[in-house]
Symmetry: C2
């Protein structure tokens, strides 16, 4: 997905940032950063990611080589505490902290239910019919690789998502598609646009080998241009796969009848 090359010591890795790992404006897409960090953490510890927070520091540009350094801060019997720092030359681009761990026969359960929504089959891609041009296979952004279909009916923003090549979900893939919370914050405020993510935090159960996941996205509050929201990620059989939260700088938002602001 990312093309991450992991070194022999398993704590150094790198990838070249290019299409389709970009945002619409040509800089690093947040989902790329968290997915690369998950792969790096799991490679260094040979354990499954349990939670991760990725902080977006710089808007890494198309064509740059990103080098990831993974520090295992503690290695317990079950849980490893891990930090990933991503550099271009000497400059930090993003950084992640999280836990990888070994699941045992310990506490297992699900305490919430999937919202009742239609399946993905009859729903329409969120970027079709929008004021933006219809996407093409030449689109340099992550939109070439993933699909979102809106089945919201009041309440939270509910989007079915998958990779257009039909690949099965993994924790890294879930994190890649779920970087959509700022969109929900804007919609809750009755606005278009989506703001610029400052971070992405995800917490995982076991991710089944499904093609589609349902993103249930809820804005919580916004204050002085900063917005906060959360995501729940569901498999189509009603299994809760992951939960997460994001904060965004909500400055690139606009009313429905306005043109988008220039950046």
């Amino acid at each position: 997905m990312i093309g991450l090359a992991v070194g022999e010591d398993r704590t150094h890795s790198s990838f070249v940032l290019g299409p389709p790992l970009l945002r619409h404006d040509g800089a690093l897409y947040g989902g790329t950063a968290i997915a690369a960090s998950i792969i790096a953490m799991e490679a260094a510890t040979e354990r499954d990611v349990q939670w991760i927070t990725t902080q977006f520091v710089k808007p890494t540009q198309n064509g740059e080589t990103v080098e990831l350094v993974t520090d295992v801060l503690a290695m317990g019997r079950r849980s490893a505490q891990v930090r990933v720092t991503a550099f271009v030359d000497e400059a930090v681009q993003f950084t992640s902290i999280g836990t990888t761990g070994i699941r045992t026969n310990g506490l297992t359960g699900q305490f919430e239910q999937m919202p009742e929504v239609a399946g993905p089959e009859d729903a329409v891609d969120i970027w079709q019919g929008h004021t933006r041009p219809v996407e093409t296979p030449d689109d340099p952004s992550f939109r070439r690789m993933v699909e979102y279909r809106d089945v919201s009916s009041g309440g939270p923003l509910c989007l079915w998502s998958r990779f257009t090549d039909g690949r099965a979900m993994t924790p890294a893939a879930v994190a890649f598609v779920a970087d959509m919370v700022p969109l929900a914050v804007a919609r809750c405020a009755g606005k278009m646009g989506a703001g610029s993510s400052l971070d992405n935090s995800m917490r995982f159960g076991v991710v089944p080998e499904v093609e589609w996941v349902l993103l249930e996205l809820q804005g919580h509050l916004a204050s002085g241009g900063y917005g906060h929201g959360s995501a729940k990620v569901w498999a189509d059989d009603g299994t809760l796969i992951a939960v997460g939260g994001q904060t965004a700088s909500m400055i690139y938002i606009f009313d429905q009848d306005e043109p988008p602001p220039l950046r």
Copy 2:
């Protein structure tokens, strides 16, 4: 609250870990780590914390001197990207990443409502009448400093909380009292005990100068001994002040009629 001494360069600070900044077992309480990190981030940037995630790496022991190093990874016009690393000697004890920022006249709003629950006045402290001994002013743990009163009525765990000295809430104070999500994960699973937090992630609006806050705590899922949940923090006038999430290792849980397991 923490007794954090901030150096002249504003990027180095320290505190001595002692009562009442401890867990019941005498090690660092998670709320202490996130509160100290917030104070350090705000001191280094002179901006207000917008979000933070604190990763608990080692169980720092009573009496140790904790040194915090604050790295400002990026300083934008509104947002600063900040990292805090806490050491005892050379060993990392906890680490935090987050954004501090300047709130402008940008997007402001609240998209959810406070649950309808009774006020704190008639509710009972959660540790009174419990199988544990009643707390005293000599308790070395954080319980000496804070109070929790359960007003749940089905659904999420709802706890009113305040500092027993009546001090006004701040972002650091909110983070200190809100480190309670693992308790909700255990309760959702019908268990007693609370597990051991691996991290605490909080996202803030403006924190008003109130004495009491309502913690609305929800467990989402548990998988192989790891549990995930979230917190919403409300002022008594219905303002949503903060939201957060935590992952915990859920190994110290037990049934209601069982004695707690030995650690």
